[in-house]
Amino acid sequence: MTHAEVLIVGAGPAGIAAATAAARTSRSVLLLDDNHAPGGQIWRTDSLAPNPRDRHRDAALTSLQQSGAQLLFNTRVCDAPAPGILTTLSGEAITHIEYDKLILATGARERLLPFPGWTLPGVSGAGGLQALTKGGFPIAGKRVVVAGTGPLLIAVAAHLAAAHANIVCVAEQATLTQMAAFASAIASSPAKIWQGIKFRAQLRGAPYHTSTWPIAALGDTHLTSVRLTDGSRTWEEPCDYLACGFHLVPNTELASLLGCTFNGDFVAVDVLQRTSIGNIYCAGEPVAIGGLDAALIQGEIAGLAATDQLQQAQALHQRHATSLQRFVTRLEAAFRLRPELLTLAHPEDIVCRCEDVRFEQLVPYTSWTAAKLQTRCGMGPCQGRICGPATQSLFGWKPTSVRAPLSPVPVSAFIQFDLRTPTAPQEIP
């Protein structure tokens, strides 16, 4: 069985910073991620165009390469069968990895909310369309509406505009007052701002509407237009793509499976990024939605703390904790969902995309568990990753405890290996 003194799950900015800091000691450090390259969401590699030069990204990746940390890609953690052991899936091969210290840096995903037409091809998350473009889809000349909420909208619109998409408009649901408060707060912040905001100038003249949100995506087999409203006026924008996400929700399934204590929707940590379980640390978005700076600093603190470099870890915390916390609070306030967004779905609209469960089917139930059992909502392959946060927003349902495997494991892998028996002799290297 592979053994790492420090095992880090997630090679986004938080995981990269953690691995780099931990590998400065002579410990064995293993950083793994389900993507084929490091970078996480913000530094996702562009498969065709060379990534635009980014000082922070280049510096972080160079330090990582020089640190001596081992890297393992295309590998997803799918179970935690016993203390000190994680099960990973790579293609169809299942492996166990033993660790002394574990750092969770699993990032976040977009919150997606149901509205009429949101399942039509052509409608995706905001980061979803960005990823498709980075994956080689030529967006040049395509008409794109970017909608929802959060700094990600601007980052995505700027990225797509740079790839010569025709950005019809950006529709941000937050009010101008909220946005202005946020913008002025971060302008005066000594910390590097969330990348998105500085892209504002790069939207190439595309209109940026505040207090505006989508109420329907229209089309037959593919999106043809989006209906937007500002609460009093409703209009249609013809377009080819709708990139729509409602800020971020943390990826906390693994922390939950491991039994870490939560603070609301987030993993609870102390000043050294330690969770309630002594040898498990957590950094980046699962701890708080705080952007790139928070991810990098928390990652470094976790990496230092996990390798007993406690003084440096504490010093970093003291230097940055207040400003990072202030930023988290401001993000939360600026991009709070307006109540109108929770009434967009009509009775016949699908809420659970995996199982095609409609809004009206969910209405009779009072809990996530009851709805799951009776309607199969959340029982499909995404295991409620999309409809869970949606129903939490719409109905106030709390997700129930997470069960392994965290993502579907192909039957062939089960045949090769017994997931729950870490000492099984037929381990696949």
Binding site: D34, S47, G127
Partner: protein, 83 residues
């Protein structure tokens, strides 16, 4: 003329040239084909682009339920909309 960096895949039986590095989900989008049909028969394509939503799952070289958003195309890859 195929460029040196172009590879050929098949989307629902139709040959399609894509640049090396293109993801299978992008190949479906290029071919204007949905990745899958939902349980009630609606066309669907990738939503999250990061391996979480499973809307991009399709049949890849005969294997069902393969997420295509993080999967780079290779020469001769056969992609089919999953029913």
């Amino acid at each position: 003329m195929p460029t040196p960096d172009a590879i050929t895949v098949a989307v629902n039986g139709q040959p399609l040239q894509v640049a090396r590095g293109t993801t299978a989900a992008a190949a479906f989008a290029l071919a204007s084909a949905p990745c899958r049909l939902s349980t009630t028969g609606d066309p669907r394509s990738g939503v999250c682009g990061m391996g979480i939503c499973f809307e991009c799952r399709a049949i890849v070289d005969g294997v069902r339920h393969v997420r295509t958003c993080q999967l780079p195309c290779y020469d001769g890859m056969k992609l089919e909309t999953q029913q």
